[in-house]
């Protein structure tokens, strides 16, 4: 039988930090009630990442540019690094290095190239948590979102590691005539480059470069100037994995770098992800310069809820779509279209559940939503909400003045629900890229499909229903690149292609999977006859 001394204080639970608690138990005879004042967040990998370098020809090189911008943590407002705006000459040097490295790399057998990706995957697994935390620091997403993105990044490496199977050609005996065989060989082309956005600092460059490099090309990545840290960190793992110098190069900077990549004759193709106007520009300029292009643009995704939808599950799933990554996914829900008499109960539940979304610094594991990426982004989102009000919509939940205690300098916009939105309003038509739900009511699925088709975008659309017929009709009719049936974030896995339709994508071959292999290779036909 044991005896416990009588407590002077009962055990209790104390909130010590937004979202985190400590259980306070009596702990010893003298300091009987030990108080723990502050619950720690997950640790930051570094407080200050210093001035970034370029990675060219296997070496980390300081840029000579005197133009340097701050890299900001959008949750805290603190400067966590500096980014040089690399020069045209520095970009050309990277292109030359990639070009020099190409032929030796092209001659490296696919199985050997694939093995380097296995090694890279292992290093990424070992450094998984650091990759995710750096992403939280520079982009503002939550740690779960960052871990999810890291997983998707690794999945692209895993798929690319299977390159011997992925880039096999095909043959036909007597394909030319009797005694004349015909073969199609899949060959790499040379130097490719990616110009990357801010919303997925790790994953998006990995939609492209692993496939390009695995199939025997060399590569240049220009990370987003807002979120370059994750990509720079990952490239250290690429270096550690033993990829030969010049095979993957990183050039930090802005439009001078992009323009040089698009204009340079040694660059065979450009991959881009960003807004539609820029995607269109990239597509046009790169094509004018004779390059292959895949340019992914913006989106205005509608999620359509049919009267027979399972309300509870539908709401839970849609919360991830509208508020995940603070609405800064090209696959995020934006318009919420309620069909028929589900509109009222859905809206009631939606607002209730939206109010429970917890904002904060993503290194607090209990946080559901982080800030938007910058003060400029926040201003833009707020302007959209203002415009809805001006046009006569009703703001049911207003995130414009959202504050997170302890993070007053963070760029937080709270979950926002705008009711009585009509299809002609600005907020129903334009990409907001924030945690803003524009609520529309319609009478039928056909009306919703017409509305979806009235948008210049065609990235994604989802339907929530228990009816196979409705789901099938929606899938069949809707002209978008990604369709969700009871799924609100229609993000293709690494072994499937990803891109949108209409102004959401300029090009033909998509990112990831077999499409990526086709984009980065050409077919060479060989006809053989032996005398």
């Amino acid at each position: 039988m044991f005896e416990r001394p009588p407590p002077r204080f009962s055990s209790s639970v104390v909130r010590v930090f937004p979202g985190r608690y400590k259980v306070l138990w009596p702990c010893n005879a003298r300091g009987w009630h030990r108080r723990i004042d502050r619950m720690t967040l997950l640790s930051e990998v570094k407080k200050d990442y210093g001035k970034l370098k370029n990675f060219v020809n296997g070496e980390w090189i300081d840029s000579t540019s005197d133009k340097v911008i701050d890299i900001e943590n959008p949750s805290t407002g603190e400067v966590i690094g500096k980014l040089p705006m690399s020069t045209v000459e520095e970009t050309k040097a990277a292109i030359d290095a990639a070009h020099e490295a190409w032929w030796a790399w092209r001659e490296t057998p696919p199985i050997t190239r694939g093995r380097l990706f296995f090694r890279l995957k292992e290093l990424m697994e070992q450094n998984f948590e650091d990759v995710a935390r750096i992403m939280v620091q520079e982009q503002g997403k939550t740690i779960d979102e960052a871990r999810g993105e890291t997983r998707r990044t690794i999945e692209n490496v895993e798929v690319a590691a299977g390159i011997p199977s992925l880039m096999m050609g095909y043959s036909l005996e007597d394909g030319g005539a009797e005694g004349i065989d015909e073969d199609a060989i899949i060959s790499p082309l040379g130097v490719f480059a990616a110009i990357c956005p801010f919303n997925f600092p790790a994953m998006i460059p990995y939609w492209f470069w692993p496939y390009a490099v695995a199939s025997g090309n060399t590569y240049i990545v220009k990370p987003s100037s807002q979120v370059p840290l994750t990509q720079n960190y990952l490239t250290k793992l690429v270096e550690q994995a033993g990829f030969p110098p010049g095979v993957l190069n990183i050039v930090n900077g802005s439009h001078e770098v992009s323009d040089t990549l698009m204009e340079h004759p040694k660059v065979k193709g450009i991959s881009f992800v960003g807004s539609s106007p820029v995607a269109k520009y990239i597509y046009k300029k790169s094509a004018e310069n004779g390059k292959r292009v895949q340019a992914q643009g913006g989106a205005k995704n509608s999620l359509v809820v049919m009267p027979d939808a399972v309300l509870e599950r539908t709401v839970s799933n849609m919360l991830a779509s509208y508020y995940g990554c603070a609405g800064q996914r090209c696959l995020a829900g934006s318009n919420l279209v309620a069909i028929g008499d589900i509109a009222e109960p859905l809206l009631k539940k939606w607002v209730e559940r939206s109010k429970l979304i917890k904002m904060g610094y993503g290194l607090d594991e209990s946080v559901n939503m982080g800030p938007v990426v910058s003060a400029k982004a926040k201003k833009k989102v707020i302007e959209y909400i203002d415009s809805a009000e001006t046009e006569g919509a009703k703001i049911l939940l207003d995130g414009r003045k959202a504050k997170v205690p302890g993070y007053e300098k963070g760029h937080f916009v709270g979950p926002t629900v705008i009711d009585q939105v009509t299809p002609d309003m600005k907020v129903a038509k334009e990409e907001i890229f924030g945690p803003v739900v524009t609520y529309l009511r319609m009478d039928s699925m056909d009306e919703a499909i017409d509305f979806i088709h009235s948008s210049p975008f065609g990235n994604a659309a989802s339907i929530y229903t228990q009816s196979g017929k409705w789901a099938r009709d929606f899938r069949y009719k809707v002209q978008c690149g990604n369709i969700g049936i009871n799924v609100g974030v229609v993000a293709a896995m690494a072994y499937f292609p990803f891109a949108g339709y209409k102004d959401s994508f300029f090009g033909d071959l998509h990112g990831q999977g077999q499409d990526a292999i086709k984009f980065f290779t050409d077919r060479k036909v060989v006809i053989t006859r032996w005398f």
Binding site: G19, W25, T142, K358, N368, V487, V489
Partner: protein, 149 residues
């Protein structure tokens, strides 16, 4: 006493964190119980239990890294952390029965946490749900083992 930090269970990561804290707490309590002179007869059992709970922590970290799917990261709004808090103030001077009773409560609470979480996770991530279900059933088996001491 083993110090634990239990977050609100509002995200997948927070649920896993909560579970890791449960495992840390359980492992620590078993280690302390294994050193209790009056419970020496069960010391080896407690040591084995401590090791098993540490290993479960590794499984949880693996689950967090490998089973998380960015596509379906829904907010979790229906797990109340207060229902699953454990007492990690290991009692001093316990005999085998008292020590087993104390550890049994931890196993019972943990089982409830894992089995409840498995139901919720099933909607989100079936693979994670299977892990939660397995851990919850192990807790139940541990409790039965402790009851038999």
């Amino acid at each position: 006493m083993v110090e634990c930090e239990f977050p609100e269970c509002t995200t997948f990561g927070a649920v896993i964190r909560f579970a890791l804290e449960l495992e840390k707490g359980a492992a620590g309590v078993y280690e302390e119980l294994s050193k209790e002179p009056r419970a020496a007869a069960a010391a080896e059992t407690f040591k084995a239990m401590a090791a098993a709970h540490k290993k479960r922590g590794d499984l949880l970290e693996f689950t967090r890294q490998q089973k998380l799917n960015e596509m379906i990261l829904e907010p979790i709004q229906d797990i109340k952390r207060e229902n699953y808090l454990i007492d990690t103030r290991t009692p001093k001077g316990s005999d085998v029965k008292a020590a087993a009773r104390f550890a049994g409560k931890i196993e019972e609470t943990s089982a409830k946490f894992y089995l409840d979480s498995a139901k919720i996770a099933k909607m989100l991530m079936a693979e994670a749900a299977r892990v939660m279900d397995k851990l919850g059933k192990e807790n139940q088996a541990n409790k039965a083992k402790l009851d038999a001491l």
